[in-house]
Amino acid sequence: MYSSVVRLQNAFSFFTTVAFVVAALIASTDLLAPRTPGVGVLKTTNVQVVRGRPHYYSSKKEEYAIIKFSLDADLSSLFNWNTKQLFVYVTAEWPSAGGSSGSGQNASNQAVIWDSIITSPSADHLANLGPVAMKKLKRSAQGKSIDPSRGRLSIKNQRPKYQITHPSGKVAEQDDVVLRLHYNVQPWVGFLTWNQDADVWRWKTLRNNLSKKFTLPSIKKKDETKKAAK
């Protein structure tokens, strides 16, 4: 500590140690906060299968499923002081038909149809929004550091973000398809955590997150009368 430079270096070095320990403590407080997420309603409202191409110039034609759904869920308990963002996504799953050479009996096909990033007020400045929407978002938090109402989702007849298909290109008339809600808590410091299968101390599993089974319809035929009218 004999010169200013040495004191600066030593003080900064201990500062990084303290910062690391405090961050570890903050991450560990996540385990103390109880999580009780639950889904009220998750159902499809409109399901269609259409023919299309992966992108404009590809020659392959595939079948795509467009699954509109309604969702009502309460994920507010997932927000605590260490939550930066909550990533919520809905997947469509169906069992595979029992593949060749003994594989695939337990396999299931899973594709994401919709996702959304829900920021905590402490991370609002990072949201992917324009200036007007950003101002509105920041004001909605009313200066609070945690806003539980952001975790209460209530969306009706939501158009999916992604049209899904199967590697074989065929999804029409597929039975036993279910929708499932997932979440991923992204903290300021600490490990990423997803919805878990079993209760872990104060963290409960996501209840009721499967929709009823439904069947994908056959390919939508173009309306013959509409064509004649043109």
Binding site: M1, R7, F14, W81, S122, S145
Partner: protein, 102 residues
């Protein structure tokens, strides 16, 4: 003249402090930064506000740097007593006994 000025500037940037001062600095750095970390964590946890915790931590750390890095006068209260320049000439009848030194 210029050399004298440069010496002063060098002394300022070197910021030498005496040994008692260095001991005090060591103690202050460890205690103050730990305290800042603890305060930042507990205030943040009980108010459930992580931005506040980070701000308290950073401002507290900056304050500790200001307290510790510059060579404040209170770090120089026990200056080292150097022998006079030129040293002391040994007395003429000084005998150095090797056996005592071993």
């Amino acid at each position: 003249m210029a050399e004298h000025l440069l010496d002063q500037v060098r002394d300022l940037f070197e910021g030498q402090i005496d040994f008692e001062g260095q001991k005090l600095v060591e103690l202050l750095v460890n205690a103050a930064l730990t305290l800042v970390g603890a305060i930042a964590f507990f205030i943040g946890y009980f108010l459930q506000d992580i931005k506040l915790a980070v701000y308290i931590g950073l401002i507290g750390t900056a304050a500790v740097f200001v307290l510790v890095v510059p060579p404040w006068p209170f770090y120089n209260r026990h200056p080292v007593k150097w022998l006079p320049v030129g040293g002391v000439t040994p007395p003429a009848n000084l005998v150095i006994n090797d056996e005592v030194l071993k």
